[in-house]
Symmetry: C2
Subunit: 348 residues, 2 copies
């Protein structure tokens, strides 16, 4: 692990976990904490979500180095009620706080059937789907969300006051693939608008507004403006749901109180997350759930495809197939990311 190379090298999941863990140890985390962070980010990479995987070493590392994230947080977990826990992340790395909150919610759900964890004092916690997968594999249905830096205008407004916050859910499927949905609230990612600009193409008028809050088909104006939420006022409402649960109710920052990741790298963001977990073992036995989930997926897959080349999928299918493929074949990280990880691991 102590050579830096720019070659595309294929690593196994175990190698990625070791490298990721060492790299975060190199940034000052304890071995145990670094291992939790690596677990979330490596699962993201295995899912094919490389923008939310180990590549985050760069942005997380930058904030760790300037003190915008606390490498050695004292994370506290407080039981507020038999089914509610509150997690104060003490400005730790997001996936670490996320893992602590997930673990606390699972422990609580084992006791009462439902566990709700509200986390505050956190940072970008990676994608939702690694948490949903861990929950589903342990028998829990989940609804999980996080707030984020403000990039979206309120519906009908003209400045960025809410985040393009992720929300996801999972339902266990004993013996098969769980259902996993992980989505941000915008119609399109900014990257798609940047790509349209590069290609000199217009964008659909449903993707973004200009900086005055008017819908636009001009990608340059859109990049100066705001992403539009899915379904207009519906997506606006969903984004608020996420921020109310993840930010307001958790005791974290919300809306414009969330500090910019880019503009204020040395100030705590105080992001918040929520984890709602339901222990499905109380609802029926394994055979009951397996039978219903198998039938549910079969009904969806059975719909004749509008385009024969693109059969109907269920949520999570792409990610879980990618995970299986990468577990079989290994995964080649971007060489630049690999270099960063190895350089950081050397310091551990």
């Amino acid at each position: 692990m102590n050579t830096i190379t720019a070659e595309k090298r294929v690593l196994t999941e175990a190698q990625l976990l070791t490298l990721g863990s060492k790299a975060f140890e190199g940034l000052g985390l304890t071995g145990e904490d670094a291992s939790d962070v690596a677990k979330v980010l490596v699962t993201a990479d295995m899912f094919g979500l490389s923008t939310h995987g180990l590549s985050r070493i760069e942005s997380y590392g930058e904030r760790l180095r300037v003190g915008g994230i606390n490498a050695r947080p004292r994370i506290t977990v407080k039981q507020l009620a038999p089914a509610i826990v509150s997690v104060d992340g003490d400005n730790g790395v997001g996936p670490l706080v996320g893992m602590r909150a997930l673990t606390a919610a699972m422990g609580t759900a084992r006791e009462t059937g439902v566990g709700v964890a509200f986390a505050r004092g956190s940072n970008h916690f990676g994608p939702v789907s690694p948490y949903s997968l861990m929950a589903a594999e342990a028998g829990f249905a989940s609804i999980i969300g996080s707030n984020s830096t403000t990039t979206i205008a309120p519906w009908g407004g003209s400045d960025a006051r809410l985040g393009n916050s992720p929300i996801g859910f999972g339902v266990p499927n004993p013996g098969g693939h769980p259902f996993l949905l992980d989505m941000a609230i915008s119609v399109a990612a900014r990257a798609k608008i940047r790509n349209a600009l590069k290609r000199g193409e217009q964008i659909p008028d449903t993707w973004a507004t200009d900086k005055a809050g008017r819908t636009t088909t001009d990608p340059a104006a859109a990049l100066d403006g705001f992403l539009l939420p899915i379904g207009g006022h519906k997506g606006y409402g969903l984004a608020l749901l996420v921020d109310l649960f993840a930010g307001l109710l958790s005791g974290a920052a919300y809306l414009t109180h969330v500090k910019s990741w880019v503009d204020a790298p040395d100030e705590p963001q105080n992001l918040g997350h929520f984890f709602i977990l339901i222990d499905t073992r109380h609802l029926g036995d394994t055979a009951w759930l397996a039978g219903r989930m198998h039938d549910f997926a079969a009904i969806l897959h059975g719909s004749p495809a509008a385009d024969a080349a693109r059969p109907v999928l269920v949520p999570g299918e792409i990610e879980l197939n990618s995970l299986a493929r990468h577990r079989r074949d290994g995964l080649a990280l971007d060489p630049a990311v690999l270099s960063l990880l190895e350089a950081s691991a050397v310091a551990a």
Copy 2:
């Protein structure tokens, strides 16, 4: 109440509740059960949601008369775990089953901080927002959903296999308006497509597909086809979330197992609902929550409107203003609905 008239008559909320209750008694419900049904439907009317209010006497009444809904259900509530209850609606009127599930979830949440109720054996339960309002007024944040008759194709599919299922949430705001979101998953309601057809106008290609699953701007082809979910695959995933929680996990019917309300009026639909309630009193005191909710709303209202004539709103603002106005001025029901109610009330 025993004269039938076609005039527009203004009634108070109390008068509407009495009339609605008597009308459902006339359809065979007990006085107590009819009163619960009236509470949900009258709140819908007061919110301005007349398509989901007392006008439902027509379709509910039709199914009650042919035995497709059970007028005298034996609804059972079973505690599956300290924080989970299961409600079997015994094919009762939807808002009655909904009210029993809401009450059970609130009771459970008072004990453990969180209450999750899964209901099965139910029918169309009205809009979500009356339940969210009752929960919020009692101090509970909520996420509530129901499945419904299949009208939407899976993303990329070409036949109706999932419902345009409603989901909603609420967050209490002590001393102010709670936040309430109540949304179906489609971009547009079928009524909007019918209106476009009447006016001879095209529709945006994001609203619906033709019957082969191809997007269309022709309202006639769209009415023959399927509504599109908000955000494409994202809305498809959200609709599945609702059906997995409301239908599959509850033990109710789901996807194509839900019988058509129109084609099989005498067969139980076995719809399902879920209610997730969180007692906000465990998270902070009333002043803390009131202060944060006031600030949250002020931040959103403070965004300069893109169109000065249309200031930024928060979810539920239109409905709660409508409720306040109707409580002050009374409400004039559609005369045809009033006639139906009065005719049914006479029989009570």
